[in-house]
Symmetry: D2
Subunit: 355 residues, 4 copies
């Protein structure tokens, strides 16, 4: 089940960048949830290519067609099938990579693993897959409406939004094209990405995500810890190289006397270096984590590489690519968060029922 995420609320996906369509099956969604289709489209638009000058200029309508599981506007509890047709395929842009392995792309590993692959646009390795996740995440969000999920761009290259998340106004995140809730830093980030783009290069960055009003008790002990599930989900996103929650890698430099979160009488804590999770289980405080994205591998510069015969060749990036994936990754991080939380809630609720 390499194309499935979740245990009870699950998403199983398919689709290649230049095939007829992407899509998936959402299973385990509770019945009777009213679906706001406009809201789903809004989420898709946040991920959509061509939305601004600092993302890929491909044009894809990214319209989802639901095929089952929703009747008269409400979920029925049965599986929800959906597809998103690919519209703007310029497959000839990819003829040059038919037999050439792009550096730091998955062309080589897919070819070696499977022996036969759809090379066009990266095929199954394309981040176009994440359109499916945004659909499922948008539905999950509508089930767990009381939880606030806010992701944002927290760094681009070496330019960091240093403010703690508590000092940010998340209502500002969508007010700029880089999705950084601090307008001043956002301007710098946009300039940086734009400069990199003009140079035919790309740049990495990080996304931070904050989950508020998560009920106490989500996550399971040992191997299904809430942060392990979140981590696995985030590490599934194309280009992700790292995940940390709460104090993260900084916490590894600290002493226990500095790191411990002292309780208030109501069970909340004075600090929250734990990141809202103790022993793998949500403690009612904000959950926050950070995801590292490497720079996009396709650059508009000549690079040396090899072809499938093992010959050294020169290649030049073609097509329309993101100079920085981070702005479009923000809704993806949110979508996966929503799916993980809902899945954990379904399991937790089941065990809490009286028998």
């Amino acid at each position: 089940m390499a194309n499935t995420i979740g245990k009870i609320f699950t998403l199983t996906t398919f689709g290649e960048s230049h095939g007829p369509a992407l899509g998936g099956v959402i299973d385990g969604c509770p019945a009777g949830i009213e679906i706001d289709f406009d809201q789903i489209q809004l989420e898709l638009n946040r991920r959509k290519p061509g939305q601004s000058k600092i993302v890929t200029q491909r044009k894809e309508p990214d319209e989802v067609e639901f095929l089952s599981g929703i009747f008269e506007g409400k979920t029925t509890g049965t599986s929800i099938g959906f597809i998103i047709r690919n519209a703007n395929q310029k497959s000839k842009d990819y003829n040059h990579i038919k037999d050439v392995y792009r550096p730091s792309h998955a062309d080589f590993t897919y070819d070696k693993k499977y022996g036969h692959r759809d090379y066009r646009g990266g095929g199954r390795t394309s981040a176009r897959e994440t359109v499916n996740w945004v659909v499922a995440g948008a539905i999950a969000k509508q089930v767990i409406k009381s939880i606030d999920i806010n992701a944002y761009t927290s760094s681009v290259g070496d330019l960091f939004l240093e403010k703690p998340y508590q000092d940010l106004d998340f209502s500002q995140t969508e007010n700029n094209i880089v999705r950084c809730p601090d307008a001043a830093i956002a301007t710098q980030m946009i300039a940086k990405i734009d400069a990199v783009r003009k140079d035919g290069d790309t740049i990495g960055g990080t996304v931070t995500c904050v989950l508020k009003n998560v009920p106490l008790g989500l996550g399971e002990p040992v191997f299904d810890k809430l942060h392990a599930q979140l981590g696995k989900a985030m590490l599934s996103i194309n280009a992700v190289k790292g995940f940390e929650y709460g104090s993260g890698f900084c916490g590894a430099k600290m002493k226990g006397s500095e790191h411990n979160d002292i309780f208030n009488a109501d069970g909340s804590t004075q600090t929250n270096l734990s990141g809202g999770i103790q022993g793998g289980i949500s403690n009612g405080m904000d959950i926050y984590f950070r995801v590292a994205f490497k720079p996009v591998a396709t650059i508009m510069k000549e690079q040396e590489t090899i072809n499938s015969k093992g010959e050294l060749v020169k290649m030049m990036g073609k097509g329309r690519h993101d100079p920085c994936v981070v702005p479009r990754a923000v809704p993806i991080v949110e979508a996966l968060s929503a799916m993980v939380l809902l899945d954990c809630m379904l399991i937790h609720n089941g065990a809490k029922a009286s028998f």
Copy 2:
């Protein structure tokens, strides 16, 4: 299946710190593997409490009893049950936490989630659970003997082993009690942990792990990417706050032109910022990753906290605790790595067979 890791090669575990025993069931182990029991005990000894002055002074024999699945010294392909009896329980050390929630421990979340818990020694939340993982990992290592798995302590607090792993001699890792392959840094790390311990405090750190000779093609696309599986496994270890592989969080600061790994004619790459994985699938280069551990929450200092009635109380750490978990985490990181790799190999091998 919150207590299970893996899909084909699986480990399902049980056990509390102060219960009669820990143990587990290893399922999906191939048949006919000769088991070196001494080697398993050696791995257990690497994780064992009381092995040096910089770890907890608890004494546990940590002897594993195998109950099934191994016959005449070889695996039979059926499930391998095992137990490790708890020997050195000083449960009265924990009476003081029966109704008190220790700061940054899971006492509070378990109590809220389950309403009833074994508080002694942290019960199921204790890192004593990882003894089970070392057993299963030791068996997995014996199945995939051709793969080299080397973890080591790469930082303690703000003291970092800066050398790249390529410059290290992993045969030195076990030559010092902190498990850092650089003797000079190891001495400093030991001194740092010792100082922290004497102060009744604790300190965090990181473990780096390097996997050599991993066959090309392990890992699955989309949601079962090899690094996502490794990440989830590592995030399951007590006290872990972050995971990064290859260039990790540093990669998020870089440009594509700096980050891309240029191929050699044989399919290897000149650099390896990718960390041996492309598109979730091993590319034959070394896999390496880094795991961040927070400082142990139990400190020998008075802290304010609350009890189960929501009253503010003072508490003082008791019992025998690690001032730094990192030295004992090294074999745990290796064990989980071995389990993940074997699981991926079984799935990959199945699909590669001819039909």
Copy 3:
């Protein structure tokens, strides 16, 4: 994952009888398999409504559109998405059951479980779902070509094909519309179904399936026994009330001295009451099993029933229904068999590889 079958080779499905489409995601299919699309359509035609006078007269083209996972005619090893558009929906045929629970249908249980359902044509409870299984089964068959899978109608009502399967010529199965390989009995069966149909009634029956050339060693001990997996798959088909393999319920009347299969020197057995499986694992002999189908619940006679308000009402079957599902169930039984066998092979092959 209520809509998923399999562990490595998996099918996850969606779709309602009168929704826009049915479809699914096939995951874990090995790469490099050449797909014969005509063969898939032939299998779909065997299941198709309207194919003869003894099945439902609905007209559905049942054309599958593959959306991913197949490139240049060969599988790529990635997930295969597909849809089958619903064409011949006469939803108004079902207005009369919007608030009425048809006897021995799932209207009542779905309404009570979910509170909101697509009642048209039975929605998700419709056997139209099995069109998805035939697609996935047709692909599985193309992977395991060396295995012969032959199902056939073995009884209709109290009319039984008494001959043992060894005396049948499976090449005759498709030569009559009831799919019974004995022409004489087939004629009687057809007459029986036709009479029942004219009377506005329906009738049950059984399908027998024979699997030849199954490799030794498929199936797993304890909970994934090969026959348990086959049984679960068959019990998933709409209207199935029973499953038996080998000697089945007759075996329960026998003595050990009668029932034991004595070995030949080559490991084959003189008799095969075991049905090709010992201890849950295939032994190389023919596997055979029998599946019982109840009569279709929708009859063209007035019945008393209740509506959603708990009022007693009269209702009369409408629409176009099968007088007997068995002829159309034959390809469905084969499809599920192929999926189960391939899934077991992938797991078995993985463990048999050398390490």
Copy 4:
């Protein structure tokens, strides 16, 4: 996960007949359930060898030791590990089968699949494994106390208890050693088994199970239908050859007008040929099903067979075996039923919670 049953409430087992112990891990049991250990032992006693003259005369204490997950007499919500030590191993009884494949046993298939096996007492293929299931089932029963689970012997050879279950007094089941609630038939069954035993032979039989007070709505559509889950569980029991529920194979002979269950105004039905399940989901009526057991393969008569070299040899059954498994299978059928029902309840409850 060949040794695991269940999705949320799971049991993962290990153990060979003549190894040191059997045991397992129960995961997903809700917290706070008071455990009646005497009741567990009573269930084990019902399955125990040596309990009467018509079962195997092996003596096993069959005492379970719980190792985790239960604290101060109540479940904690964490995994419950347990072991049952093997006490009465007469391994030398099995030297004669070290290289000989017993007819209609799994010796041959295990040897071919795995190449290395514990032959003593059948090793992992022994029905001794079911002791684990009785432990887990006994715990599941204590969680779902409001459901009545009653299995009984419904046939031995060609001797059938013809009365419908509605006419039986289940309180009589344990009053005779064959576990048939009709005293007169029980006497005949006992005589039949005794006669077969004296002849060195064995005999098959069936177990019927009735589940009363099952809440409406358990089971999932499509591939996790309640009866499919029950069927798979029952087909996992050693020697089972068939499963039917409700009208079963008889239903396949009937017409729709005879078979349909007409509703009462309250949603109950006048008849219950459906067997309490519609569309895979419980409808609140009694669930009942029947399980067919073949005769035990080990007989005390000389049989021809082969050894691992493919030579024809004569062999004679040795050791202490059941002449008929059915009396001891009754508690096993109940145990699996309880596990399946609880697992379905946990999933159903999770989705029914408000969000």
